[in-house]
Amino acid sequence: MLAASGMTTESRPILDVRGLRKSFGSTEVLKGIDFRLAPRELAFIIGPSGSGKSTFLRCCNRLEEPSGGSIHVDGTDIMAPGVDINAVRRHIGMVFQSFNLYPHMTALGNVTLALRLAAHIPRAEAVDLGRTALARVGLADKERAYPGELSGGQQQRVAIARALALEPRIVLFDEPTSALDPELVGSVLQVMRDLREAGMTMLVVSHELQFARAAADRVVFMEGGVIVEEGPPAQIFGDPQHARTREFVARIDGHH
């Protein structure tokens, strides 16, 4: 469904967002977002709550229906009329704040469900791919465990494996560590670091500024439904150009 990846040039962005708008009723949450993400890039979106960062992320696979603008993922216009949105979503991984694992399935069941039903991969092969994905997040020994038997950090890693198993072009992370106890955050960040090493394209909404400093290629500061400022972490954290960015960074850093 997505344009032939053999044709992909390194310069073409994986994610290309132009003039994205989103309103809930009369409230405009996104007021024209322009954003491009290159292959293998890891971008961090920061901003106060209500700035629209999660809504932006959720528009990228149309969990929220955009009100205007355009979004291309790996060359495919995901808002084109008649686009097969399920086929598009298979190539866009998403990781949620509250994990959202299926409680009635084992870890392996969670990871293989979409492989079998959406990607139509035969069961035996799906199981192999599922085990590989679980091994990638360090949970090869937990394939038979139900979500209720796993710690929060382990659950989130299964959720990451669920997204990875489909071999996505990009993974969207929506506050992946916000629901975790502090001592469990590290294991999830480690998996994200490994993914970055492996060259995965990632867009992350998170408050883990330490991690952003160390691992992000680019940090995007959003407020009031617009991108106020973006740049390399050194610039955003060390030498922000906008007063509002300075204020936000100072306030967040105070908490750490």
């Binding site: 299926y102 409680p103 469900l113 959406a118 979500p147």
Partner: protein, 234 residues
């Protein structure tokens, strides 16, 4: 005491009407089975339909789905408010007038199935909407369709929540097969009652009560077993 035994546990009368009661048990059994199967499946179909009709749609289509959803809810509320006996009598006398020939058995089956479907729909629906929204989002984000998400992710969780109230309601409504007696369905109560009128002795009713116990006590026990069976760790 002798008089009590003679009235309610008259062995002679009981022996005479036992074959009738047994044949009534058979009628009650298959009538109840049919009501359970049609009522619970129709209820599930209605709940799934309601879920599909509640999806966000673009404007002209949304009027149609909205209207369908409202008529579905109207049907459910209607069936929940009318006493089953009224429906049975209505179908028995009303449908033939409309050119649809229906026996007492058919009328009872239809009425109880519709009533059970309405209650079951509400119970399934409550289960469906109590499954966290994140479950939908996670499944859809991996490329599963609406129907796949519903069948593989949402329904298993919803049904588990629905099972205890569903068991209770199913038992309550299948006991309503006794209402078929008024339209000459030859189930347990009908047999017991005609036994009473022929013998002038209520012992057939005692036998009938025992027959109901023999039929429904296992169902209650199975219901309890199903409840524990479906309570998995969260």
């Amino acid at each position: 005491m002798d008089r009590f035994l003679f009235t309610f546990f008259n062995a002679e009368v009981m022996a005479e009407y036992l074959p009738n009661i047994l044949s009534g048990m058979w009628v009650t059994t298959y009538l109840a089975a049919f009501v359970i199967v049609t009522g619970l499946s129709l209820g599930l179909v209605l709940a799934v339909l309601r879920s599909a009709l509640s999806q966000k749609m673009p404007a002209p289509l949304s009027w149609l789905t909205g209207a369908l959803r409202l008529s579905l809810i109207f049907y459910v509320d209607l069936m929940r408010s009318v006493p089953p006996l009224v429906l049975i009598v209505l179908f028995y006398y009303g449908l033939p007038a409309l050119g649809l020939d229906i026996a007492g058995l058919g009328a009872t089956w239809l009425a109880l199935s519709l009533v059970l479907s309405a209650f079951a729909e509400e119970i399934y629906w409550a289960g469906l909407i109590s499954v966290a929204r994140g479950q939908w989002e996670a499944a859809r984000s991996t490329g599963l369709s609406f129907l796949q998400t519903l069948i593989y992710v949402i329904l298993p969780q919803a049904v588990r929540l629905a099972i205890p109230p569903l068991t209770n309601r199913t038992i309550a409504i299948t006991k309503g097969t006794a209402l078929g007696q008024v339209v000459a369905v030859q189930e347990i109560l009908y047999q017991a009652y005609s036994g009473l009128s022929f013998s002038y002795n209520p012992s057939p009713l005692t036998l009938g009560a025992l027959a109901y116990l023999a039929l429904f006590l296992p169902i209650v026990i199975v219901g309890r077993w199903i409840e524990t069976r479906f309570a998995w760790r969260r």
